[in-house]
Symmetry: C2
């Protein structure tokens, strides 16, 4: 039930707040000010207050934010309080690395299936998941109610994998292939190309 | 020579423009409108015009942007027209995957050295680079004039690696470990945690 449209920039900052809040919570720190958040995350405190104000009045003047309450709220906003099964195509180095991240995803978002087009990889075990052939993709995605697909195949194969994800009913795609993929308007795509991260970092060199 | 401070959001969009412009250039498409860019990249055309206007008057009304000229300008703004040597610590799955990306980095940014703390990995060859021990880090970084460091080690080791990078004179760090690292103010850190990408994607599920 979205009543207002929140800008993508804000949505992208929320997981960053969440990560830091989780670290505070682990250290049994119960309140945090927007100043502290801003200093840690290299963001303007006013920006942080504005971001969080989108979702309601979380903070208290002069005291700050209740860490655990804010975690719960952001998790709810990001829908991390629901189970979100994820599938991954491309059992190469990057695919393996991402599957190994599963351990960190204590949120209800988990990679539940891995696929690869190469016969030699089928049946291999990665982090307790067996690599499945592409022919099984649609059936597995439906039976496991997969909602998000991750693409870690070479650029030339990415569009075809995206098509298969869309046909199987996936609602959002995280694409690591260094190519722009086309999907119908109702499917959300994020690109997670590490080259763009490196390139934007170069700007800050003197 | 920065005369104006450009917001991080803009700096992060420039590589995305660049990737798409490179695709157009490969297809011998010589001009592009902000409408076309906006449609492809799911961004408001007015936003794109505003972003690019930071850097000068690139576009022509009614015609659009000259693709190759814009590529050259963005590359210059992002300092990709200079050689930027990069070093990586952590020769695991993710480290390997990133080294394999080197092929895509036709820009002058290249991973020139890989390090790992595990004795068993030293001397292994990844994409024509031999994995070096951590003891060599400072000397190698200085001799190869490395300016950017990439961290792909487990969370518990990330801060120590960051310290070594900073001591060796690295100016910017791309951190893939799911933990916030602390560095002196003059060093720029970007976090490239894939969990935050996944989490912001979840927001867009219905």
């Amino acid at each position: 039930m979205k009543t207002i449209k929140i800008s993508e920039a804000v949505v992208r900052r929320l997981p960053i707040y969440l990560r830091f809040l989780n670290e505070l919570s682990k250290k049994n720190i119960s309140t945090v000010s927007s100043q502290d958040l801003g200093q840690k995350l290299d963001l303007n405190p006013a920006q942080i207050r504005k971001d969080l104000a989108y979702f309601g009045e979380f903070g208290k003047k002069g005291i700050g934010y209740d860490v655990d309450y804010l975690i719960e709220k952001i998790r709810h906003i990001l829908k991390l309080d629901k189970v979100i099964p994820v599938a991954l195509v491309g059992a190469g180095n990057l695919g393996r690395a991402l599957c190994n991240y599963n351990a960190y995803l204590k949120d209800n978002m988990k990679i539940v299936a891995i696929f690869d087009a190469q016969a030699s990889k089928i049946g291999e075990s990665i982090n307790n998941l067996k690599v499945k052939p592409m022919e099984d993709l649609a059936a597995v995605i439906r039976s496991l109610h997969v909602r998000i697909g991750i693409i870690t195949v070479p650029a030339v194969e990415a569009q075809q994998v995206a098509n298969q994800f869309v046909e199987a009913g996936v609602e959002a795609i995280l694409n690591f292939a260094p190519v722009i993929i086309k999907v119908p308007g109702e499917v959300r795509v994020h690109h997670a190309d590490f080259t763009t991260e490196l390139q934007s970092l170069a700007y800050y060199l003197d």
